[in-house]
Structure formats: C-alpha cells, structure tokens
C-alpha cells in the first residue's frame, strides 16, 4: 500500500459515509476503511446472526424468530424527518436511487398515563384528548401565528387579538411566547417535547427562534406525507451508510473493510501522516474518523494523546416484541415521546404522577418502533428501541417507564454507550473526528456534524450540487 490519498476515512457510520461520498464526488482521492466486516459502524443494521454475535455471543438466535436474512435491526433509534437536511442530502446526491422509503405510521406522546397521537391536522387537534376545548382554541391561535410568521412582515408578529404586543422570536423567550397565547403547562409540554423534540425544559427560558424552527420543521414534515413527520428506509437505517459508500465508490473511493487500524501516525509536530494496519502503512493528507478510531474508551487515549472526551451516556434497549405497542392502534411503526415531566420514579419504582414536575430526572424517554412493513424483521415481529440520556447510576431503571409501555418483551438487548466529542477541530493536525450518534430522534444533528467537518476539512461551506441524472445514468 504505497499509494497516497487525499483523505483516509475511518469507520463506515453514516456521518463518515456521507463525508466520504461528498469528498469523492468533489474529486478527492479517498480511502475508506472499517475494522468491521460490515458497513455502518455504530449506525449499522444487523441480521439475527450479527445481532446475537454482538449481544449474546454464546447463544444462537431462537428458531421461532424466523429467517436470519429477514432481519435488519438498527443499533441506534433514529428516523428521517421528512423536511429535514438529511432528506436534502439524499435527494441532492441522488442516492435515493438505491433506497426505498416508507412512512413511520404514527407519532405519539405519553400524557396523563396513556399514549396519545400527536395531532397532525386541525381535525386531529380538535379530536385530540390532549387538550380541553378552550385550550384547543388557544393552541389553534398559537399554530396559526407560527404558520403565518414572516420575518419581514411585522403584522404577522402580532399574532392575533390575544396578543397585544408584537413578538420578537430572537429576544422573547419561548416561555413568553407560550404565555402570550395562554397555553397550559401540559400543552407546552407536548409542543416542546413531542413537536420541537427538546429532551428537557432548558429551551423554555431561551429565545424562541430555535423552538419556532423546530416546530416548523415538525409541522412541515408532517404535512409532507401525512401520517407522521418521519420516513424510514426499507431494510433498515444501515442502508443509508451503504448507499453513500456506493456513491463514494462510483466516484473512485477505495474501500477496505475488516481491517484493523493499529496506529494513527503523526510527525514530530503531531500532524497526521498516515495510518498503520499490521505492517502496512497508508499515507494521506487528512484523516476523518469516528471517535472509536481515536482512543475513545481507551485508558490512555490514542498513543497517549487524549483526542476525544465523553460528554454523556445514552442507554438503548433494543426490544423484540411479538405484538404492536399497546395503545397505538396496532401501528406498524411509531415514535413515542415520554416527556420526563410525565413520569416519576424513585428507587426503581415507577409512579404515574399526573401533572407533577419531577425533581430528580429531566430528560425524556423515546421509543422508536419498526416492523416487517419496513423489511427489518420477520412477519408479526416488532422491534422497538427505548432510549434516554443516562442521568443516574442505574440507567436501566431510567427507561422503565418506556419498557412498561411495550407489553411483554420477547428479547431485550441493552447497551449503555458513551457519547464522544472531539477535543480539537483538526485544523492544526489534520485529524478530524466526528461525533457519536446522540439521543435525538432524527438525523439533523448528524448533518450538522457532516457540514461542520466538511467545512474544516475542505475550508469551504458545503454546497450541494445536484448530480446530472443524464450523466449519472447513461441511457441506451
């Protein structure tokens, strides 16, 4: 391996594969490596054999789960929000030609001890048990105000008769906006957590703009296909990195899987030189990789140098069910947000205290479920992942409220994963490290990371050029 590359990419997670694809399209000579013999890294989808090898090394998959090849079980619970940035990248790079998407059937929120649909249309809102009659009117005004907002038109900032002074999204807090419309705490809770998808209540005292953006993203995504704001690739999330890897490959990217990376070689100044695998060394100008290639989890870090730091931990319980989640109308796929304000638990006891603000835990629990409709498991099997950011020393107790909503659980695989972030920007040493997949329910933060790394690696902003379909698909 004496060839020299522009960029070596380590790890085939979605973040790395998007970057690899975009860099190859941009004309860079890319070498893309992974220690595993499959694509996807932490964002892979595994078949039964791979799943049991990972979580139950001494056990063969039970025969009644069906055929190995019918399974593609995601390791991280995320969906694609329809009007989000990942959708734009999928369309602009044209990798959609490798993929087929289906909607996620429903978006639910846990409230007052039960699961309710997050209203997606005015009609649903009127019928929704989430709000009383007068509250529905106030909420309607609130959503009309959001929908009518134009930055350049002050008339739209007035909202309506309920609001006597104009709202400034950049200086007014979200709390102030809620109060102007007189929304009840329970309504604020479902808007902030089930629509804006905030994991805790910190956003309330901050300027309203980001919350406005998130609600608009949610509602415009909802409007796009109807049932929920989310779409999902058939055969699992692992198809996403594979499709970008193919994009990279057809633009000349070189792939090497099942390759142990033994050393990140740097020069006397600490600048990147190359990577070593066994006795082979490959050189490149820059390296991009996920934290696991740069000492994440190791005692002394990578070569004694600390390059990544643990920010938080996420607990994820992959649960195999033989039935849909109770209370979801038998939906074949759902997201359920369990706002922490809606649950309380002490010493592992789960108490359903309605309308009680909880002192000890702050972060929401999410459930993401898919099934054979999305070609990720055998018929009549459902795969749900319950997750939250870890706040205590007993993470598995923290997700109990979520697990209890699932009914009987056939098999459960639990992981507690540290979320790593890089300690430096890479501009000084040409070592660019991506972030772990966080606890958010969609891929928007992944795209933020892609854009951020792209900016630092190439020194320019990411501009998505549409590939010419004529050029891409030669016709006869």
């Amino acid at each position: 391996m004496d060839e020299e590359y522009d960029v070596i990419v380590l790890g085939t997670g979605l973040t790395e594969c998007i970057l690899s694809g975009l860099l190859s399209v941009d004309g860079k000579k890319v070498l893309h490596m992974d220690r595993n013999d499959y694509y996807g890294g932490d964002s892979a989808s595994l078949n039964l054999t791979q799943l049991y090898r990972k979580f139950r090394p001494n056990q063969t998959p039970p025969a009644d789960l069906g055929r190995d090849r019918d399974y593609a079980v995601d390791l991280i619970p995320k969906f694609i929000i329809a009007s989000g940035e990942l959708t734009k990248i999928l369309v602009h790079t044209d990798v959609t030609r490798y993929l087929e998407f289906k909607q996620i059937a429903g978006s639910f929120v846990y409230r007052d001890g039960r699961i309710s649909k997050v209203p997606s249309t005015e009609l649903e809102a009127v019928k929704s048990p989430l709000m009383g009659l007068f509250e529905k009117r106030r909420a309607k005004k609130f959503f009309e105000f959001l929908q009518g907002w134009r930055d350049e038109d002050p008339v739209t900032h007035q909202g309506n008769a309920f609001v006597n002074s104009g709202i400034n999204l950049d200086t007014d807090s979200m709390k102030a906006v809620y109060e102007k419309f007189g929304l009840e705490p329970g309504t604020q809770d479902f808007i902030g957590h089930a629509m804006a998808l905030y994991l805790d209540d910190d956003y309330i005292d901050k300027p309203a703009r980001p919350t406005y953006d998130r609600i608009v993203l949610y509602t415009s995504s909802m409007a796009r296909y109807g049932k929920s704001p989310y779409i999902y690739p058939l055969y699992g999330l692992g198809e996403l990195p594979q499709s970008f890897a193919r994009l990279s490959a057809i633009y000349g990217g070189t792939y090497m899987l099942d390759k142990k990376i033994d050393e990140i070689i740097t020069d006397a100044d600490g600048k990147f030189v190359g990577v070593r695998s066994g006795t082979e060394t490959v050189k490149a100008k820059q390296v991009i990789g996920d934290p696991s290639y740069f000492g994440a989890g190791a005692e002394v870090g990578d070569g004694g140098r600390l390059r990544v730091i643990e920010e938080k931990r996420v607990i994820r319980a992959i649960c195999i069910l033989k039935h849909p989640i109770p209370g979801t109308d038998g939906s074949d796929s759902v997201q359920i947000v369990i706002p922490q304000n809606q649950v309380n638990r002490r010493n592992g006891e789960y108490l359903d205290l309605q309308h009680t603000l909880i002192p000890d835990l702050e972060l929401d629990i999410y459930i993401a479920m898919v099934s054979s409709t999305h070609n990720v498991c055998a018929k009549d099997v459902y795969v749900a992942i319950v997750s939250t950011i870890v706040e205590t020393s007993k993470p598995e107790l923290e997700i109990q409220p979520g697990l209890q909503l699932l009914g009987s659980i056939y098999e459960k695989f639990v992981t507690v994963s540290p979320l790593y972030m890089p300690l430096s920007t890479g501009e000084a040493d040409n070592i660019f490290i991506t972030r772990s997949y966080d606890a958010t329910s969609h891929f928007e933060t992944v795209v933020d990371d892609v854009k951020d790394v792209w900016g630092r690696v190439t020194g320019k902003d990411l501009v998505l050029k549409q590939r010419n379909p004529e050029e891409a698909e030669q016709q006869e």
Binding site: S83, Q103, R246, A249, D258, L464, K465, Q466
Partner: protein
C-alpha cells in the same frame, strides 16, 4: 405494442476478472484496457429484444471496486446476477463459488444466476477447464457461459439467455418493472416537492 420489462442485474466476482469490461462491451460495445467505465454511474442500462419483440431492460449494477467488501444493499432485490471468473486465474473460480453461496443464502430465492468465465481470448493461459466450470454450474443449477470482453465473443449471448430465463409473465407491478429497480419504487418519493410550502424548500443550486 411490444411489452417492456425491467430487471436489476448485479455483477459479482473477484476484482480484475473483467466485470466492468463485460458491462462496457454489452452496453457500449467497447473495450478499453485502462479506462474505468463506471465512474460516476450508479448503474448502466441496456435492453435486449427477444424474438417475440418483448423488450427486457437491464438496470446493471457494477461493483464500483467494492467487490471484496460486500454491501447487502448491492444485491438486494436483484433479479439476476452474473458471477464472473477469469479462465486464466484458478483462484477466481473459488471466489465465484463463495459469491454464489452468498447469493443462495441471502438473495431472493428466485434470482437467476449466470456463471461466466471471461478472457477466452487468452486461451494459452487457461487454468480453468470448461468441463470443471460446467460441472459445477450444472450441480448448482446455474447457467454457464464463456466470454471475452476484449473480442466481444459470447457477451450478448449471456444477457439474452438471462432475459429469456427471467419471468416475463407480466409482474403485477404497474410499470412491469421488477422489485428493486428504480422504476418500481413504491414507497414515498423524496424527490416530490410539496407545492404548499415549496417556496422556501426549493434548492438554490
């Protein structure tokens, strides 16, 4: 009017056996010693017209150099596969066998598989006899061919034979496209822009 059917065809086999060259010969009737024909192409298309005027359109997926590191997505929903070996490289038939086992395990059970020994123009360097390859193909119930992408010998025959073997009894799909081909996508269409909020969603590229 003649009927048209569309199928996804994947190429498999060790690197340098001539997969890309076979595609280039079939699609453009060219041969090039050095050029990589598939740069930037997600897949190539070519049609075969059968005796009864039925048109079979192949959506041909080349490995793009990823042959050693199989991505399940690559042969997902493939209707047919051409597994290529190089008649001058004994080891390449072993690789082909590995691939065929993989397809038999993971791909759609109805997949049509053709085993193809390439580089017949290099007879002097032959290491794999016709008998050996044919015997294996018969045992596994595969079609078997020999080709030279360089001279063009036998190439179109491979694709015509596959076209004849594919189920042309009008698939239920409205487009007559088999599952897996771009034309047969039935899920949500990401390229569809919503008109209601289109203005700020339109791309500025």
């Amino acid at each position: 009017m003649s009927k048209q059917f569309q199928f996804k065809l994947v190429l498999l086999g060790e690197s340098a056996v001539g997969k890309s060259s076979l595609v280039l010969r079939f699609v453009k009737d060219q041969f090039d010693d050095y050029r990589e024909s598939t740069i930037g192409a997600a897949f190539l298309t070519q049609t075969v017209t059968l005796d009864d005027q039925t048109i079979v359109k192949f959506e041909i997926w080349d490995t793009a150099g990823q042959e050693r590191y199989k991505a399940p997505m690559y042969y997902r929903n493939a209707n047919c596969a051409v597994v290529v070996y190089d008649i001058t490289q004994a080891s390449s038939l072993d690789k082909a066998r590995t691939w065929i086992r993989e397809l038999q395990r993971q791909a759609d059970p109805s997949i049509v598989i053709a085993l193809c020994g390439n580089k017949t123009d290099l007879t002097a360097r032959r290491q794999i006899t016709q008998e050996e390859a044919k015997k294996y193909a018969d045992e596994e119930g595969l079609m078997w061919f020999e080709t030279s992408a360089k001279t063009g010998e036998g190439v179109s025959e491979v694709f015509t034979a596959i076209a004849k073997k594919l189920p042309l009894s009008a698939p239920s799909s409205r487009t007559n496209a088999a599952r897996g081909t771009a034309a047969a996508r039935q899920g949500v269409d990401l390229n569809r822009q919503t008109t209601t909020q289109g203005s700020n969603e339109a791309c500025n590229c």
